[in-house]
Symmetry: C2
Amino acid sequence: MSGTATDVMKRYRNGEIWDFENEMPTLTRDVILGLDGGTTSTLCICIPLMPFSDDLPDPLPVLATAVAGCSNHNSVGETAARETLEQVMAEALSKSGSNRSSVRAVCLAVSGVNHPTDQERILSWLRHMFPSHVKLFVENDAVAALASGTLGKLHGCVLIAGTGTIAYGFTEDGREARAAGAGPVLGDWGSGYGIAAQALTAVVKAHDGRGPQTMLTSDILRTIGLSSPDELIGWTYEDPSWARIAALAPVVVSCAEASDPVANKILQYSVQDLAESVKAVVRRLNLCGQDGNDCFALVMVGGVLAANKRWDIGKEVVSCISKDYPGAYPIRPKVEPAMGAALLAWNYFKKQSENGLKC
Amino acid sequence: MSGTATDVMKRYRNGEIWDFENEMPTLTRDVILGLDGGTTSTLCICIPLMPFSDDLPDPLPVLATAVAGCSNHNSVGETAARETLEQVMAEALSKSGSNRSSVRAVCLAVSGVNHPTDQERILSWLRHMFPSHVKLFVENDAVAALASGTLGKLHGCVLIAGTGTIAYGFTEDGREARAAGAGPVLGDWGSGYGIAAQALTAVVKAHDGRGPQTMLTSDILRTIGLSSPDELIGWTYEDPSWARIAALAPVVVSCAEASDPVANKILQYSVQDLAESVKAVVRRLNLCGQDGNDCFALVMVGGVLAANKRWDIGKEVVSCISKDYPGAYPIRPKVEPAMGAALLAWNYFKKQSENGLKC
């Protein structure tokens, strides 16, 4: 049978999303599902259950992946989020030749999970989707991003900076802390959105006489196809999407690389802001130990931190953090956050199994 | 006949909005209409045509006023804006015992008018509403606010700071300039929204370890009925209204009055930001003359600038501007911006009549 997204969606509409389970030979292989659900897309990855005793293989084995749209319940509502998640899991299982009875554990890491109540609600409907023996875990997507860098170990701090930004950390004994992640109204100025909004502000200020002239004016107007800064107000408010504004961040980087002082100042401010989020988490969790020099993983995720530019925001952030905490050990993950979620599920399942054996 | 808003609305729905003109004795008195259309409400004021030769009477004569909802076409769409404006004018005329043939001039000052194209579009449908002899003028609402302080004279600078902020100035020879007024995404940090958003950010930062503890935490949470800063993210994004956030600005003022350093810093930043908008307009228009000491009207409008607090933002803004431009002469208008619009209409009509006589 076919497992394309369209097929799965058609089956979902007909209430047949799991029908493939009756149409194929059942494989006895145990599998794990990891999901990374963001505001733009959702990725589900299906991996085999790896032996607990061995080191993790390199590369990590992948049976199937599937992609769908937004699954942030704050953004699209609970029903649509649930449909998307069920579809993408069915597609990944179908592609891997498995079914729900083969699943040992699922970790769903999704943005918009900020409270235990969010976790409980999502867990309760995941529970209805799977046989009762399946172990289910729900986390904020930042937790999966951390695990994608540490290969499933929840220790250290992750800094995500894409359209938005958040810093999230864990100690080895399970304490956790976060900083930022509160969106543009509440001061996430180091994010892609924050960088771009400051650049648009600089263009308006240069135009009305409040600020210095800057290359950002010509470069931003050309990028979005406007002829005058007067048109920026209309452009800004015609569409409330944060991602649309954040998409201008690379223009700020290129202007800073061309030595524009205004663009340069915005990026330096962004670096301070991002570093301060990490430092707040490190301080609260004492990740640096008593003498301040303990090593800890600093996982760097998101377009703003990508090391593909001469003006390297991520490198500057690490340098700023290292001045206070020389033990910060930067990691740029080689696998997707969805794999981080799968490794988390595997780790949780392993711990529960080991604890079960001890009882 | 009755002239209540409900009656007028019912008549509008039935296409009978102007029917009252056939049902009442026609008065021969000439009148002027001034309208101030904002994002929260629209006020229409009907005044008698005053003789051109005399000084303005004190108090200014008012025949009738009428109030309606939002008439910003960017916010409610063109059809709804037009309906609201037509309703509110019909109500004011009906209450004053006049009809459209008595009207000599109309000045419609409305937020969201940023370009000549906005003016042209609104003028063209106003044109269809009135007999051809009626003089029609369309302005940004900031222009009426200036005129409310200068009693119709377009010279000087107005600073509006309520939910949003804008500075708008005119020279005696008709050049104009504006600064700010670009909304919260584009850096209007001195506005009520800007002050409140910075305060919410300070609460989040105090909570996640990025900033110092502040009285704002307890005072803001109590005001909006939340028990923890964790709930602020949900509260902030559940309703995108700028006015809802801006309503927290008085809490920041009261915390600053109680000597909270974080609140104090936010207000000082707001003062700098508001003063900078005025200074940019003064510089560009050279309102202060060659030696920098010329007098010019500085009209102060909006809740943020109201002089009813010990921490007086308006007074601090004037003090900051006066350091650079000692000729700034602050005026807090005693009449509504709608009266400013009516006086503008009267002035325009007077000038056109005088020019007509010369021809």
